[in-house]
């Protein structure tokens, strides 16, 4: 039973446009949410996080939005660049550790 769900396996956007990756969760005890980026043949790398006391966190081109009532979070990338093409994983944790991951969304940014 997946507690973290990414319902879109893939997303394709044009360079310079916005990429929006979505994530839903079922466990109301989750209080930390993270996004990871993964290139082929590499481990996932941490991108951005948000705690449940916030509804938005921004880091350069990356912004994560959290809607606790809907148990939904999203990652916005503006503007998208070809180097952003990767698989993005959403993850959630009910305490400081022990994360659960979604299935991932493959983002392709076309030049």
């Amino acid at each position: 039973d997946q507690q973290v769900k990414q319902n879109s396996p893939s997303l394709s956007v044009q360079e310079g446009r916005i990429s929006i990756l979505n994530c839903d969760y079922t466990n109301s005890m989750f209080d930390y949410f993270l996004w990871y980026k993964k290139y082929p043949a590499e481990g996932p790398t941490f991108l951005i996080s948000i705690s449940s006391i916030k509804d938005k966190n921004e880091d350069g081109r990356f912004t994560v939005f959290l809607n606790k009532s809907a148990k939904h979070l999203s990652l916005h990338i503006v503007p998208s660049q070809p180097g952003d093409s990767a698989v993005y994983f959403c993850a959630a944790s009910a305490r400081d550790n022990d994360m659960r991951f979604g299935a991932g969304t493959r983002l392709t940014v076309k030049p």
Partner: protein, 115 residues
């Protein structure tokens, strides 16, 4: 630069073999984790450890065991490998007080094929 090193990049093993996947971190992290990554399923937690000699089951521990004799090393053991354990295995580590800023640090993964 922090590092999590997994001993093998690719492994091919026969059904029924005992398989050891090794993971070493050089960051003095308390917490270490083993995940497997499969298409359409994402990363699923197998086992984790918050301290030396400690271990806890994740979501899919069946068919696996772990060992943490030293803080820097966390081993995943497949007692009798089966074809449904063919997967990408990822080791990770973390530090409690840095979790929200840095998350987990992952190794590059071991692609295991059981034939």
């Amino acid at each position: 630069d922090v590092k999590v090193t997994q001993s093998s990049r690719y492994l091919v093993k026969r059904t029924g073999e005992k398989v050891f996947l090794e993971c070493v971190q050089d960051m003095d992290h308390e917490n270490m984790f083993w995940y497997r990554q499969d298409p359409g399923l994402g990363l699923r937690l197998i086992y984790f450890s918050y301290d030396v000699k400690m271990k806890e089951k994740g979501d899919i521990p069946e068919g696996y065991s772990v060992s943490r004799e030293k803080k820097e090393r966390f081993s995943l053991i497949l007692e009798s490998a089966s074809t449904n354990q063919t997967s990408m295995y990822l080791c990770a580590s973390s530090l409690d007080e840095q979790f929200l800023n840095y998350g987990y640090t992952f190794g590059s993964g071991t692609r295991l094929t059981v034939v």
